[in-house]
Amino acid sequence: MSAGAVGRAYPRLEGPAKVTGTARYAVEYPVDGVSYGWAVPSAVVRGRITRVDTAQALASPGVLAVLHHGNAPRLTPGPQTELWLLQEPAVHYRGQYVAVVVATSLEAAREGARLVHIDYDTGPHSTVLTDDHPGLYKPDHVNPSYPTDTAEGDFDAGYAAAPVRVDATYRTPAYHNNPMEPHATTAQWRDGRLLVHDSNQGASSVQATLAELFALPAESVRVVAQHVGGGFGSKGYAKAAVVLAALAARHVDRPVKLALTRQQLFGPIGYRTPTIQRVRLAADTDGRLTAICHDAISQTSTIQEFAEQTAVYTRSMYAAPHRRTTHRLVRLDVPTPFWMRAPGECPGAYALESAMDELAVAAGIDPVELRIRNDTDVDPDQGRAFTSRNLVACLREGAQRFGWAGRDPSPRSRRDGRWLIGTGVAGSSYPARSRPSSATATARPDGSFLVQVNATDIGTGARTAMWQVAADALGVPPERVEIRIGDSALPTAPVAGGSMGTSSWSWAVIRAAQALREKLRDGGPPTGEVTAEADTTEEVGGQPALPRYAYGAQFVEVRVDADTGEVRLNRMLGVFAAGRVVNPTTARSQLIGGMTMGLSMALHEEGLLDERYGDWVNHDLATYHITGCADVESIEAYWLDERDDELNPAGVKGIGEIGIVGAAAAVANAVHHATGVRVRELPIRLDKLIGLSDLA
């Protein structure tokens, strides 16, 4: 690729449209004769609907219809049982959608929803994850297709024989994705064809799911997702809102807009599963790891298995001769957990990188140095060399920029008035993968180019990045390129997820551009439009299975109020090695966004479940606290120049998730350094630290 647009800090192409309010989100498209849907959640945890009384709702002004399992259009069963909505009387968790009220205004639909009376037969339920739950079982595999357990060497013997050992159990609560734009859809049926403007992370995948559910050929379903107000994984597949809107629009035979409320995001859209993680580490007196074991417990629902790959991070991060990882699940009467930024790696790294800190303390070795000593060029899991691994370089550069040298390792060694000050570090890693994609590139007679790929820009800057990649691949200045994304009518492409969007889409874009240049090579300037297509299915599928990872190092300084236990972040600094960076402006936002979300996980967020009701009771942003700007006094992200030719044509590793991995551990480790208190259950709130001084 010629040096050109890639690597330059272009502002987002749609920035002006967004700040002037002309960029349209899913329910902002003007539609004639539109009506409004309101999703009705079940009021019980587990049971069966015995009666739905819609009379009062239907009599309420403006209400057009009430859909429920007794009258809703039929769906074709598919693998995602969570989407089997309004089809049967069974209720599997509290908050599951059991009806939709459609009305001529949003307010009328909401009022109608209150007037739908549903009777249930209920049974006993279980909604709390424990490490001795009788329902614990071993799933066949963990997400997406990793082995459930792994073992090499003899962990028990290795652990027993070691001079330095750590055995600690870490707990994380349920975390809830709260993108600014909720799951929202405008659905319209025309002549048996379905058009949805939907807030999702992958219009091609939503198209396929809707086609399957409504038994339609794919070309009869069009999904438009031009601008998406965040997703963090929660919009990775079709979710309830789009299915309910499509069902409702078909039932009332008019367009329907349906958006979930903030409260409704807490549960049915998926959430990060709570975890209970026991980590055991053993090392020789030099801190060289001899045995590693990570046992992870998480939850799934009774209707769909979701097996968070919590301990997978531990398989490849540090080397040791004796290693074991296990995953166990419990099926609870809860909504199915789902993706949240770095599923698996994020909670897993919290536990492992915390345990590494405990090991550093136990062995009396600096925690940066401990990680450097346990670096490995060969993936301990696959036994093959990493295509590139710059963990140590990240640690070194981070330590230098942060001013780590000379740190007094003893807890409570720094104080500024009432504030106890501490610093912490953690490693970070995230797989660099690609999925098959397709794209087209078109040369126009006026010398401009059109590049089309059904990528999704969930606020990340993906549109701008693809435009830069396309320009370089075409060998023209980006001003001559028009990029189109966010529509299932465009060439099929995978979701914006798993940090695979940029690598996958750019691969197809580059191949399409190359094919177009090939076509244009012989003739002069085209008289009509010339288009070339690319589909990377074969090429991606044929790529050798090598361990490809991005790495990072997270550094944090906190201060803890000795009297009240309040924890505040002084500064946070991350250094990452993630292949080529396409756009420094948008890359920086991704990295500091991930780091901030990790801070939020460490200090603030917690879904509070009430076992009696079986749902999270703090379901709004006034009571479910997310880190705010005032909590982030200083945050910096840097990246190393990294070239890895074994990745993909653009040489990128993906940066959407690496920023969150390890961040919570770095915060927790800093809190320990500040206070001497090791809080192993997130979030680290003041009530877990109060009592440090004699005042309290």
């Binding site: 009021a43 009022e111 236990g565 009701y613 703090n618 006034a622 009571t623 880190t627 009592g691 005042l695």
Partner: protein
């Protein structure tokens, strides 16, 4: 959402008359609490009587040296008022520690005092709550109650009053001026709020339909040395995990007068009379402040998740008073 009518009264008498005639009417201030609760179905008025155009939006210095604050003065304006900042810093600080800039621009003095509890069960019509639906039970008593009361709660309700402003006003011995169907009335703030008892749905001692027209701060020169300390779970935009409003008047090192009120501990802003008693007339020291807080909290009954509020309240009492003593 229930359809409602909107009424803009020409004067106070008309506003009060509408509420007297309409059993399901409610006053609308900034709407930052009421409208949220209406969307959630927690409050379902037929008529909203918008009081924000009534001539109640001024801050007036009184001949006796006190201050009258109109009920519709916005929280932001009040916090920025030069007299408030100079003579009652505790009030300005309490206001600025609350909510967010946008909310404070909308929120009114009257609405702030009458905002409802943030108990999560109160805000969810799918859960049992005596305050929302008398007789349905109190889900919080044995539920998620980290944010709730440690003092003066009843089996029927363990909610806290969420306002920061009200805590400062409680410390300042504020008088609440209301207009009821039979005319105006003054109520000391200490008598304005109720304990939950067996009727948590009744939050104040005024009749339904009473309009707050103003709050009146008595002259209190000592309030120039006053502060509000609030501890919360994140750096901004969160309700208090604990808070204290404090006024300290020292004669040498002897406490001549002191006013203390706590937030986040009870169904009403909690005036800490016992702590004041323990401090008054004695030479000030942080240890004395700690003992005073202990005296106040001696009868506290923490719930399952909120025991931390006792050491927290004690710590901020000591800190607030020590800061004032050395200022």
């Amino acid at each position: 959402m229930k359809a409602f009518r909107y009424h803009r009264p020409a004067n106070v008498a008309e506003a009060v008359a509408v509420l007297a005639a309409e059993p399901q009417a409610a006053y609308l201030g900034g709407g930052t609490n009421l409208v949220d609760l209406m969307k959630l179905g927690v409050q379902r008025p037929d008529v909203l009587v918008d009081v924000t155009r009534l001539p109640l939006d001024t801050v007036e210095e009184l001949p006796d040296g006190g201050l009258r604050i109109g009920a519709t003065v916005r929280n932001s304006d009040l916090a920025a008022h030069p007299v408030v900042r100079r003579a009652y810093p505790v009030l300005a600080r309490a206001l600025l520690a609350a909510a967010s800039g946008q909310l404070r621009n909308m929120a009114t003095t009257g609405g702030n005092l009458l905002q409802r509890t943030r108990c999560v069960y109160f805000q969810d019509t799918g859960k049992a709550c005596n305050k929302r639906e008398p007789g349905s039970g109190c889900a919080a008593l044995h539920g998620q109650n980290r944010d709730l009361a440690v003092l003066d709660w009843s089996e029927q309700c363990v909610a806290t009053h969420p306002s920061d402003l009200a805590v400062a006003l409680a410390a300042l011995d504020t008088v609440v001026e209301v207009h009821e169907a039979d005319g105006p009335r003054d109520i000391p703030i200490a008598e304005f709020y109720r304990s939950p008892g067996t009727h948590p749905e009744r939050e104040t001692t005024v009749a339904r339909g009473a309009l707050i027209t103003a709050v009146r701060l008595p002259p209190l020169p000592a309030a120039r040395r006053s502060t509000y300390l609030k501890v919360r779970d994140r750096a901004s935009f969160a309700f208090a995990a604990g808070s204290v409003a404090a006024v300290l008047d020292l004669d040498g090192d002897v406490v001549r007068d002191v006013r203390l009120a706590y937030g986040a501990v009870a169904h009403r802003p909690w005036r800490a009379y016992r702590a004041e008693e323990a401090l008054r007339g004695r030479p000030f020291s942080p240890e004395l402040a700690a003992r005073a807080a202990d005296a106040e909290l001696a009868e506290a009954r923490p719930l399952r998740h909120n025991g931390f509020k006792l050491p927290l309240t004690r710590a901020i009492t000591v800190r607030a008073l020590t800061e004032l003593a050395s200022s």
